[in-house]
């Protein structure tokens, strides 16, 4: 993808020399050499075998390996692109909010690479639960500021901070939520996931995926996978939200399924990244027009999937991704023989070890 000529072009356009647009080549180089793209589309043979029915039929399960990205999640696709953009438009410092810390870590890493100051706002309880991520952010040179409340409050604080420093700072949104152009921008930067998937599906089996499955917190990894296929009528889009300890309990984060804005009281098991009371406006739109279907999975189902995928494939998925993987238990028995399912393995699960 990056030939010698592309790289020399990129190196001529130095970041520190005046105002120039971020070229596709520069971003492509960063995604390739820094982030480690393209990520594999991996045939999970043992998971596939697990879903064989008694008639010897089975769907084929492929994992889109966003867990292999630098910093271990899809978050970096967006963080590096926006950080490069911020630098190019002359901003010196980045401000961001983070829930579980994945977006914070990715942002801190991108800022270190690009010599930008970095301030991350994080809810107090989140900081306690995810102290490893806080340490990573500090190591990467970012300042982590504690906020009373949760991710929602951290986001408000980050925006407030940005508004007070509009000339020098840039708010790096990790989620496709908030005012325009944030949702579009985040989706665009994450859409590399879907673009690669199309290309790889063609290479591997000469066709398209039949079903795409992704976990949904605020919606960034789901949109990243889905966007490329939105106009393909024959590709089914499935988003999986967190049902926490069950929808009836009221302690969940299933915004799209229950159709209400809900505050989540986590018992400590609910994956934080899915613990967001809002969701991407675009996914809301998809739900309303029937473009995508949304389901939920409980904490326990997610934990079971976390263990199952670790044992069967030697891949420890993030707790968030485990929600998508857990949904396979319900969808695979009803899929036709030979259906090809691509699941977004949106992150690795080392960070969830403590849970």
């Amino acid at each position: 993808m990056v030939g010698a000529s592309l790289l020399s072009e990129a190196s001529v356009i130095s970041m520190s020399k005046g105002k120039m647009y971020v070229t596709q080549a520069e971003l492509a180089t960063a995604l390739k050499d820094y982030v480690g793209r393209e990520t594999p589309l991996y045939l999970a043979q043992r998971i596939t075998n697990h879903y064989k029915n008694s008639k010897g039929e089975w769907p084929e399960i492929y994992l889109k390996r966003e867990d292999l990205n630098h910093c271990g999640a899809h978050k970096m696709n967006n963080a590096i692109a926006q950080a490069m953009l911020a630098k190019r438009i002359g901003r010196k410092s980045i401000v961001a909010a983070t829930g579980a810390g994945q977006h914070g870590v990715a942002t801190a890493a991108a800022c270190a690479k690009l010599a930008l100051e970095c301030t991350i706002f994080m809810g107090r309880m989140d900081m306690e639960r995810q102290s490893s991520n806080v340490t990573l952010m500090n190591l990467l040179g970012a300042e982590v500021r504690s906020v009373d409340g949760s991710f929602k409050d951290a986001t408000s604080e980050a925006i407030r901070h940005w508004v007070n420093n509009l000339d020098s700072s840039y708010h790096l949104a990790g989620a496709p939520v908030g005012p325009h152009p944030c949702p579009t921008m985040v989706r665009e930067f994450q859409s590399v996931i879907g673009k690669e998937t199309r290309k790889q599906a063609t290479e591997i089996w000469g066709g398209k995926p039949d079903v795409l499955v992704a976990c949904v917190g605020n919606g960034s990894n789901a949109l990243g996978l889905f966007h490329e296929f939105v106009r393909d009528e024959d590709v089914q889009l499935i988003g999986v939200e967190a049902a926490g300890v069950g929808l009836e309990s009221g302690k969940h984060s299933a915004t799209l399924v229950t159709g209400e804005m809900r505050k989540v009281k986590s018992l400590g098991h609910t994956p934080l990244l899915l613990e967001y009371p809002g969701v991407s406006p675009e996914l809301s739109f998809f739900k309303d027009i029937g473009q995508a279907e949304f389901y939920t999975v409980t904490d326990q189902e997610a934990i079971d999937a976390y263990r199952r995928v670790s044992r069967l494939e030697g891949i420890i998925p993030a707790m968030e991704a485990s929600h998508a993987l857990a949904f396979l238990e319900r969808v695979c028995p009803i899929l036709p023989d030979g259906a090809r399912v691509v699941v977004s393995c949106s992150g690795r699960g080392d960070k969830d070890a403590a849970m």
Binding site: A4, Y34, Y42, R65, A109, C111, S132, L140
Partner: protein
């Protein structure tokens, strides 16, 4: 003089061999066989193991032996060999045959060989995530520029991006495939930092093999996250309390297990140490690092690297990077070991600097030993470098003067850990940090524009707690 192989997988040499090789076979006559090496059936027949090293142009007779890395007995010069109990000899020979049949270079590509290569390549690509990038570390390079703007260009070979976060998986995946072909259902391994243990547990899960990991009790405490990961992946982690309860003791225990269960069990050794064929095999499975680097260097700047730098514990990531370039005399090879609290403190793991030649874990190599020949306890802040031995090929390259070896203290490594995190947003493993720390000494001496490739052998998430204990973060 003609000789034929007793092993059907080896090439058969005939009288058409160049005369220099006839002299070589005379050197390998039974009377000169070292103790405990391959059993020779009759004095006129010598078992010939094909090495992956293609037959080199031999200029001087005296230098003939040094170009074979290793020779048919698994020796790199005087280092290497097979110093193991009789019970293991068959298993080692069987392993070597399988390796050559499936994974070695063949003049005529046989289908089983191609099949193995294809399967392995597929797994390296889709499962491990290769090829790993060769990343231009712009800010790190900037850091080493002189006031006049001159300095070397630093590239990082991103083995930290591999699945499981280190180079270890390259070897684990290949050996697991080999084990499956051999019909072995049970896998054992030793681990220091836990990276090789995690890599082994990972591939065992992937291939549905039983997995037992031996780990020093002290290391288990230092690397508890890795212990958790291994167990989550379905492996049994057995604590080793003997000796200093670290890597060397775990290795001894693993070897002991293998001796007992050799028929059902394959031992996935994690480094280029141990008895032949392991140093060669593990090197070959990591050689993808150097092969990719050559290709990527050509793509990026149309040339070769000038200097290669890698940390050395057992030596696997270093051999993986170096091997491709050993015959390129214009490429400098630099290995960096752990100096712990300092070379004079007695608390270090700088085997190649302070060690003496001896036998450990089945191979002759440099090792840290006292006057009575007892292994001395090494120390390093990084568990992966905390090994009193080193791969025999490194000992060989050092004596030959082909590679240079230096050492870095715990403190210098911690500084480098912080430095890369701050400058490039990449948190390196503490092991890798030793190689990175050496750049402080190396770069000021390099001419402008020198291309340095450093093996970023692993990521540092596992070292975060150790780091915060020592650093002001």
């Amino acid at each position: 003089m003609a000789f034929s192989s007793t092993n059907p997988t080896c090439r058969t040499a005939t009288t058409s061999l160049p005369s220099k090789l006839h002299h070589l076979t005379a050197q390998l006559s039974p009377s000169r066989l070292p103790v405990n090496s391959v059993t020779v059936k009759t004095p006129s027949l010598i078992s010939c193991a094909v090495t992956s090293q293609s037959m080199p142009l031999i200029e001087k007779d005296e230098e003939a032996a040094v170009h074979l890395r290793p020779d048919s007995f698994g020796r790199f010069g005087k280092f290497g060999g097979k110093y193991v109990p009789e019970t293991l000899m068959y298993a080692l020979t069987e392993l070597e045959s399988a390796f050559h049949a499936l994974a070695g270079d063949h003049e005529f590509q046989v289908s089983v060989n191609q099949e193995f290569a294809k399967e392995l390549d597929g797994i390296l690509k889709d499962y491990v995530g290769r090829e790993s990038p060769l990343y231009f570390a712009e800010r790190l390079s900037e850091h080493y520029k002189h006031p006049n703007g001159e300095g070397p260009n630093i590239y990082l070979k991103r083995e930290d991006l591999n699945h499981t976060g280190a180079h270890k998986i390259n070897n684990a995946v290949a050996q697991a495939l080999l084990a499956k072909r051999l019909g072995k259902k049970r896998i054992i391994a030793e681990t220091g930092a836990g990276q090789h243990g995690v890599a082994t547990a990972t591939v065992c899960a992937r291939f549905g093999l039983d997995c037992i990991i031996y780990m020093g009790a002290q290391d288990m405490e230092r690397q508890s996250l890795n212990v958790f990961r291994m167990r989550l992946l379905g492996a049994e982690v057995r604590a080793v309390h003997s000796g200093t309860a670290t890597l060397k003791d775990a290795t001894s225990e693993a070897i002991r297990d293998w001796v007992t269960n050799v028929e059902t069990t394959h031992y996935i050794l994690g480094s280029v140490a141990g008895p032949h064929p392991y140093p060669m095999m593990v090197r070959e499975f990591h050689a993808v690092i150097g092969k990719e680097t050559r290709k990527q260097a050509l793509e990026k700047w149309g040339g070769k690297p000038d200097v290669l730098v890698a940390c050395v514990g057992g030596g696997s990531n270093a051999m993986g990077l170096f091997h491709e370039f050993v015959d390129d005399k214009d490429v400098r090879l630099i290995g960096v070991e752990a100096a712990g609290f300092g070379l004079d403190s007695g608390k270090h793991a700088a085997t190649l600097t302070k060690g003496e030649v001896g036998v450990l874990h089945g191979a002759m190599s440099y090792l840290l030993q006292d006057d009575d020949g007892q292994i001395t306890e090494p120390h390093s802040i990084s568990a992966g470098l905390d090994y009193p031995g080193v791969g025999p090929e490194h000992s060989f390259l050092k004596d030959l003067g082909r590679a240079e070896y230096y050492s870095i203290t715990d403190e210098e490594a911690l500084e480098a850990f912080k430095r890369l995190s701050r400058l490039e947003g990449i948190i390196p493993a503490l092991e890798t940090s030793h190689a990175l720390a050496y750049l402080e000494k190396l770069c000021p001496t390099l001419p402008n524009g020198t291309k340095v490739v450093l093996n970023c052998s692993g990521r540092g998430d596992k070292d975060v707690h150790t780091a915060i204990k020592h650093l002001q973060v």
